[in-house]
């Protein structure tokens, strides 16, 4: 059985966007995640107005995936993501809107983001990816599951590539690690390599 490979890695952590080990954006000024995400979007000169309607999880997903997906002509790319907090960051906001019976203002624009897989829908829409999607939740990055699920999709579901990721956000704590698995490349797709990327 031929090996699969990891060809691109994008990380967002400590107020940096790092593409293939190179810092492409750094913002030590931002006081909170919200302004960091907006500054990152502006810095990369993206033109996608829907970004501003997204919640933090989807914004973070967009900023981590866009550097990889914007160069892909192939649309047969599956999406497999995982995190710890699910959509808790937005759940808290919806809860606040219903906590006080005197000031009750649940909003569909917030509520729709109270599901973690919405960020996969956003990526699918942006890049017209009518492909396999799956969102897992896990206390820690589960390299065994991510490895096996990506391997399964390419080997048994006629998928060319799989964009995998850990995208976690809760209040001002966040981390994104996104990588592309495909049939050609230099770095072999293995659990060991995934553990290394994740450090």
């Amino acid at each position: 059985m031929e090996s699969l490979y990891i060809t691109h890695v994008c990380k967002i952590q400590s107020q940096q966007i790092i593409l293939n080990d190179k810092v492409v954006f750094e913002d030590v000024e931002s006081a909170d995640l919200n302004s960091f995400l907006k500054n990152g979007y502006k810095n990369q000169a993206y033109d996608y107005a829907k970004f501003f309607k997204m919640d933090h999880l989807s914004k973070l997903t967009f900023l981590a995936a866009e550097p990889i997906l914007q160069d892909q002509d192939d649309k047969n790319i599956a999406l497999v993501f995982m995190n710890r907090a699910a959509s808790l960051d937005t759940d808290v906001k919806h809860q606040q809107s219903i906590q006080n019976k005197e000031a009750y203002y649940p909003s569909p624009a917030v509520f729709v983001y109270t599901l973690p897989n919405i960020c996969l829908g956003e990526l699918s829409i942006k890049h017209k990816l009518q492909t396999e999607n799956c969102f897992f939740v896990s206390e820690n990055f589960d390299s065994k599951l991510m490895y096996n699920y990506a391997e399964y999709l390419i080997r048994h579901k006629n998928v060319d590539k799989v964009l995998c990721g850990w995208i976690d956000v809760l209040e001002n704590e966040y981390r994104a690690v996104v990588y592309l698995v495909e049939k050609q490349g230099e770095i072999e797709h293995s659990r060991n390599e995934l553990e290394q990327i994740f450090i």
């Binding site: 907090a85 649940p106 569909p108 599901l115 996969l120 829409i125 009518q130 999607n133 699920y149």
Partner: protein, 371 residues
């Protein structure tokens, strides 16, 4: 590839405390949907809600007073399966849920509202040694969890899998669906011309899945697919593209054509757009003559549980040679002719198709085969 089977199942709903009592209620056209007391700022809504004493009766053997209700539901559904066959160090727990114990946010308790925390409590209650897997993919979660189990068993990553699916009717979810104006203020009517939207529901469901030798009651999972519409985050594709492709992917894997499907257990939430989208997708696949029913008229929309619950009921239909009707339909109100069952029928189901669709543009299809 290994053949993977659903060997055992159990579920808990307002209609019954186990699979058999639920089945008897379904055969008698009983619905769990009732008018609910005021919740938050919402009055006069319908939902399918389990009585607290039903849950407590199932797990009265230990002190459960302090446990969150949603955890008790999960334990009550899974317990009978674990009593039948012991957990081994190779057993994997998969949890399917959209919101877990979201009620904990009312007390600002972020730890208890965390889904991994809930999964860990279920795992440690039963003594699972492996780390639990959690699928949280909106309303397809329950069907997708079955696909994940099958796929990972075929990759030799898992061996024997217990899937438990659970979600509660909470003010959090009720207020959110209502803000979307997606709720019906009468019992829901999937596929009907006068359908007005969703009734929410709650249930807990559990299955035991493995590649072990099947018995006469085992049901094989022969194909699956889970394809995104790439169209809209809160509404389905008008052409049913993602659902169409999901079913096609499942048919290809099962190596059958759509005319071999004997019965379709659809999603059928009773929203205007969902039911219409499904009719279009089924029509594109030439499934017009195939008997189809949504079970939302009995259980409401049980979110992360629905896909697993409805797959289990489909297994019961296959075993009992009876297709359960689509409760709530009077006059078909979709633009494509599909064969929605208004009465139960005796039916020998060799192949069944289960589908689900949800927010984020997700769709999942699963094909079941009688052994």
């Amino acid at each position: 590839m290994k053949k993977v089977y659903i060997h055992q199942y159990n579920y808990l709903s307002p209609l019954g405390n186990n699979a058999q009592t639920n089945w008897e209620a379904l055969v008698n056209y009983q619905s769990g949907i009732t008018l609910q007391p005021k919740l938050g700022n919402l009055d006069g809504y319908y939902a399918s809600v389990i009585a607290d004493k039903t849950i407590d009766n199932e797990i009265e053997t230990f002190d459960t007073n302090k446990l969150p209700r949603v955890l008790k539901m999960a334990i009550a559904a899974l317990q009978p399966l674990i009593e039948k066959q012991r957990i081994t160090p190779n057993s994997t727990l998969i949890l399917s849920t959209t919101k877990g114990d979201i009620k904990a946010l009312e007390q600002d308790n972020l730890e208890e509202a965390s889904i991994p925390f809930l999964a860990e409590q279920i795992a440690s209650h039963f003594g699972f040694r492996k780390r639990p897997i959690i699928v949280s993919n909106a309303c397809v979660s329950g069907v997708l969890a079955l696909a994940v189990a099958k796929r990972m068993i075929q990759m030799d990553m898992m061996n024997e899998v217990y899937i438990v699916a659970v979600d509660e009717v909470t003010e959090f979810v009720v207020s959110g669906f209502n803000s979307f104006q997606a709720m019906s203020f009468e019992p829901c009517k999937p596929y009907d011309v006068n359908r007005k939207g969703v009734n929410l529901g709650e249930a807990a469901a559990a299955v035991y899945v493995s590649a072990n030798e099947p018995t006469k009651n085992s049901i094989e999972i022969v194909g699956d697919g889970s394809i995104n519409d790439a169209n809209h985050i809160s509404g389905p594709s008008r052409t049913g593209e993602g659902l169409y492709q999901s079913i096609q992917s499942a048919l290809n894997e099962a190596d059958i054509t759509s005319n071999q499907i004997d019965y379709v257990s659809s999603h059928g939430t009773a929203t205007l757009y969902n039911d219409e989208m499904e009719a279009i997708a089924f029509d594109r696949l030439a499934l017009n003559q195939t008997p189809v029913s949504s079970l939302k008229g009995y259980f409401g929309h049980t979110l992360g549980t629905s896909g697993l619950l409805e797959t289990i009921v489909t297994c019961q239909m296959m075993q009992n040679k009876k297709a359960i009707a689509n409760l709530g339909l009077e006059h078909l109100g979709v633009t494509k002719p599909i064969h929605v069952l208004q009465k139960h029928i005796d039916l020998d189901i060799n192949y069944a198709l289960k589908t689900a669709s949800g927010f984020g543009g997700c769709n999942t299809a699963l094909i079941l085969k009688k052994v």
